[in-house]
């Protein structure tokens, strides 16, 4: 090896051989480290974990993962596509046996998974005379920020990727003046784990049906005039198929930690599913209590995954040097 910063330091012959061996080992370690770094960077995984505050599984939220107890639903929010999801549950009750229980997963939008209302929307949108300004669900821009109008307040999107992960289109954003923005008080950031706000209109890609999000339900819109009154810009495309639980696995007991159960689900086919909310349903008896849940999303070394990563890098490179818009 020609690069030697310490040529002037000569070792005894035996130690020189040891140095040569050590140098080869050093190069091998660096090479392996570079391969490992490459795998981390080009096939990144995402880890979500949630520690339940009490003995009973309550609604909790940490790091874009939420859980509710009726039924046991765990949601992990990510805009990325993955190959597998390994879900691990730690039971709080010693001796509790979760082995054999099924976990099913789907990828959809949180608001699109709302229950469908019994009746369609019967009347067109009426602006409120008490609260001036834009309707809920409207997207506004001011300066370099984009906001969503939610319950009379504005919530800024934390980054463009979050905006795009909700299926929004830049053409739906309405430029607002300082006075118009000043009508609203600012709320927290609009992050990826929030549902689409009331006033959002979904359109299904399979049947072309429209739905309005309102009060925790999806309301079908059948009248074109009513649709026109609620639609601001482009509807959010959603998939009826995304509501189906296509993939599942059964929990097995882990050797360690104690009371830990896990299984791995292939989610490669969910790549085609529209949404940013991975919903895991656990068929669990009501008496089971959970201490902790964690989900590890991984990518396999496949061409679609590499293509996604390289495409993302290329897009960011072009955006950085001004050769592509932010989308």
């Amino acid at each position: 090896m020609k690069f030697d910063l310490t040529k002037n330091i000569q070792l005894e012959p035996v130690w020189q051989k040891r140095y040569a061996l050590a140098r080869w080992l050093l190069w091998l370690i660096f090479l392996l480290a570079i391969v490992y770094l490459g795998l981390i960077i080009f096939l990144p995984s995402e880890n979500f974990s949630l520690q339940f505050p009490g003995k009973n599984a309550k609604a909790g939220k940490i790091n874009n993962i939420t859980a509710s107890n009726n039924p046991l639903l765990i949601e992990a929010f990510s805009k990325e596509n993955f190959s597998t999801a390994k879900i691990s549950l730690v039971s709080a009750a010693p001796g509790a046996n979760l082995a054999g229980q099924a976990i099913a997963v789907r990828k959809t939008y949180k608001a699109f998974a709302y229950p469908t209302a019994d009746q369609p929307v019967s009347s067109p949108y009426q602006p409120s005379s008490e609260t001036p300004g834009f309707a809920d669900g409207t997207l506004l821009s001011f300066d370099i920020s984009v906001f969503a109008v939610v319950q009379g307040k504005i919530m800024p999107f934390n980054n463009p990727d979050t905006f795009l992960s909700f299926g929004y289109d830049w053409s739906s954003v309405i430029p607002a003046t300082e006075e118009e923005i000043g009508l609203y008080s600012r709320d927290k950031l609009f992050t990826i784990d929030r549902p689409h706000p009331d006033g959002t209109v979904f359109k299904t890609i399979e049947s072309g049906k429209y739905y309005l999000v309102k009060d925790g339900q999806k309301w079908p819109i059948e009248d074109p005039e009513i649709l026109k009154s609620y639609l601001r810009g482009q509807p959010i495309l959603a998939s009826e198929k995304s509501l189906e639980f296509q993939n599942s696995c059964k929990l097995k007991k882990d050797i360690w930690p104690l009371n830990s159960f896990s299984c791995e689900i292939s989610i490669e086919n969910l790549r085609e599913s529209i949404g940013n909310d991975y919903q895991f349903f656990i068929d669990s008896p009501a008496n089971n209590t959970l201490d902790k849940v964690s989900i590890l999303f991984s990518r396999s070394f496949t061409w679609p995954n590499m293509r996604d990563t390289l495409s993302d890098i290329k897009r960011r490179f072009l955006i950085n040097f001004g050769y592509a818009p932010v989308q």
Binding site: L5, T6, I9
Partner: protein
């Protein structure tokens, strides 16, 4: 503790000193490469790697090199005067630094670019005077 006599212990420390220098060179190459990549695709690589930890590791390497160097009365040999500018590693680091600085100033305003450039230029002149002109 391994049963080395005094001479073997010295040879071991010299071996460690040489290996640490090789590790330093590899670390600078990898770290420099990652900085360039981060400059081209900002935010992508730093999302998975901690540059702060890598910098701290670099300082730790330098500290160990300094420690073993001091124990064995070893120091870097700086060629006198302008001879140092013929060092390939130094030239490569200077070119890399300039490229990273220029890339980071790309989106800055003219005022910021002017102030930073003048500051860097003055610092380089001062370093040249201290390290190269004065022996």
């Amino acid at each position: 503790m391994l049963p080395f006599n005094k001479e073997e212990k010295k040879q071991l420390e010299l071996l460690l000193y040489k290996i640490l220098n090789d590790a330093l060179l590899l670390w600078i190459i990898v770290f420099g490469g990652l900085l360039v990549l981060e400059g081209l695709v900002p935010g992508y690589f730093s999302a998975y790697l901690s540059f702060i930890k890598m910098t701290l590791a670099l300082f730790a390497l330098l500290a160990l090199i300094g420690y073993f160097g001091k124990r064995n009365d070893l120091s870097y040999f700086f060629p006198p005067g302008k001879e140092i500018l013929k060092n390939k590693v130094l030239v490569a680091l200077l070119v890399l630094s300039c490229a990273l600085i220029i890339n980071s100033l790309r989106d800055s305003g003219w005022f910021s670019i002017t102030i930073i450039s003048v500051g860097i230029f003055l610092a380089l002149i001062l370093l040249y005077k201290i390290l190269i002109l004065e022996e």
